[in-house]
């Protein structure tokens, strides 16, 4: 009788099927490739024959398992090492099953127990994966609603700064400059520096301002002293110039270098 191919595997005709494997021939390759590992293959063998997972006929299953592995090798399917490890484990269980069990060790665990536990655990996860695949999901069953957003003025928020960040930055920079000293901080009241800024503002635009006009008597003695110190600082640092036409004439303050510039230009 001529050998009629029962299936094509990777394009090659397959003319035989192991006798005890009952597989629709055209599904052979698909099935062999679809196993997710030795546990998956074992479960397939058990479920296919409606066997009870809790009472596996280990000799029979081992025989079938090894035939499958041989088939996979023959078809040159990639065979993960785990399949061989399982084959060894099955052989070991089989041999332990054959040993007579002494009466006093009746409590000893069934050699299959560990395998059964693993098969059950894997079967649960295999089912969970199928269930997960059945859940309605985005891209397939669920679509996120998306309407066109209204025209918007994009607000770009400005960075926020806390006051203590500023203080920390100040202390860090002074620390780096080795100018950090308690003494210095107390010596330099900020009111003077602030007043320096106010005086410069008063002179802005090259205005010449009478010395006396920079004082606000309502501020009292302290305020007057602060202004005076500020003016002295400004003059010392060459931030302002002071001019007096003649002795006892009114003193004027003006922005530093203004006159010099004007003279240069002349």
């Amino acid at each position: 009788m001529p050998a009629v191919p029962v299936a094509r595997v990777r394009g090659e005709p397959l003319t035989w099927v192991p006798q005890d494997l009952y597989i629709p021939p055209d599904a052979l390759e698909v099935i062999l490739e679809a196993f997710e590992g030795p546990l998956d293959l074992l479960l397939y063998l058990i479920r296919r024959q409606n066997l009870d997972i809790l009472d596996i006929p280990i000799a029979e299953i081992t025989r079938q398992y090894i035939r499958y592995i041989e088939l996979m090798r023959e078809l040159q399917l990639e065979l993960a090492a785990e399949y061989l490890v399982m084959a060894a484990m099955l052989a070991e269980i089989k041999s332990r099953m054959l040993l007579p069990r002494p009466a006093e060790t009746e409590e000893e665990e069934d050699p299959r127990a560990e395998l059964v536990r693993r098969l059950q655990e894997y079967e649960r996860i295999r089912q969970a994966a199928l269930d997960l695949d059945q859940l309605p999901r985005l891209e397939r069953d669920i679509f996120q609603v998306a309407a066109q957003p209204p025209p918007m003025d994009q607000v770009r928020p400005l960075p926020q700064v806390e006051l203590d960040e500023l203080l920390r930055a100040f202390s860090q920079v002074l620390g780096r400059a080795e100018m950090f000293s308690h003494h210095q901080v107390q010596r330099e009241p900020l009111s003077v520096r602030e007043r320096m800024t106010r005086v410069l503002e008063a002179l802005e635009g090259g205005r010449q301002v009478p010395f006396g006009a920079l004082f606000t008597p309502e501020e009292g003695r302290r305020g007057v002293v602060v202004t005076f110190l500020a003016i002295l600082e400004l003059i010392k640092a060459r931030m302002v110039d002071w001019v007096q036409a003649e002795v006892y004439a009114p003193i004027y303050l003006r922005p530093a270098g203004e006159m010099a510039q004007a003279e240069d230009g002349a």
Binding site: A34, E36, G37, P38, L39, D40, L54, A80, E82, M86, D110, R112, A113, V116, R117, R118, Q120, E121, Y122, E123, R124, I125, R126, Q127, A128, A129, L130, D131, L132, D133, L135, P136, R137, L138, E139, R140, D141, I142, F143, Q144, V145, A146, A147, Q148, P149, P150
Partner: protein
């Protein structure tokens, strides 16, 4: 602000966002002075949900918040908008994902022990890139292997509001 105005604002924001919005994000739509309370917000969402009845979409709570989604029964028509078929995932990927979902936090070695085969790096990478899983810590054993867990993005994708919504695992029978 009237309940109707609040409802309209929430509806507009949920429509425009293109992703789920958490209650906190919804609160942040309002300047502090007119910020609705949690109860007000939830009442508005409930009213909004009701108002969608009979429409083509529904309000649903998923992992990272609330979203409007097209009703499932319209998928046969709506999916024709895209020529590409929705992605299919291999059994190896789904089993790995299922293990991480049901047994989190879990190491790669633990996944391999249950599945009986090596977990390919490609699968872990795909799951991470899809932002379905992430490393939540390291197990205190030699090698300090990464512990994987699912994300709220996983819940969003599979239309779940929490891990409790996962289908229950089959019961184990005692040997």
């Amino acid at each position: 602000m009237t309940p109707q105005a609040l409802q309209r604002i929430l509806e507009g924001a949920l429509m425009a966002a293109q992703r789920p919005l958490s209650l906190k994000e919804m609160e942040s739509l309002f300047p502090e002075a007119e910020r609705p309370g949690r109860d007000e917000l939830k009442a508005a969402l409930a009213a909004l949900e009701q108002s969608c009845e009979g429409r083509g979409y529904a309000l649903r709570q998923v992992g990272s918040g609330y979203r409007f989604q097209v009703r499932e029964e319209l998928a046969p028509w709506v999916s024709r908008l895209w020529e590409e078929k929705p992605p299919r995932y291999s059994r190896a990927l789904l089993e790995t994902l299922a293990l991480i979902a049901y047994r989190q936090p879990i190491t790669r070695a633990e996944i391999e022990e249950v599945r009986g085969v090596t977990v390919s790096s490609q699968i872990i990478r795909t799951l991470t890139e899809r932002e379905w899983i992430r490393v939540v810590g390291h197990k205190d054993v030699p090698g300090r292997p990464a512990l994987f867990a699912t994300t709220s993005g996983f819940l969003d994708y599979f239309n779940l509001s929490s891990l409790d919504d996962l289908p229950t695992l089959a019961e184990l029978r005692d040997p």
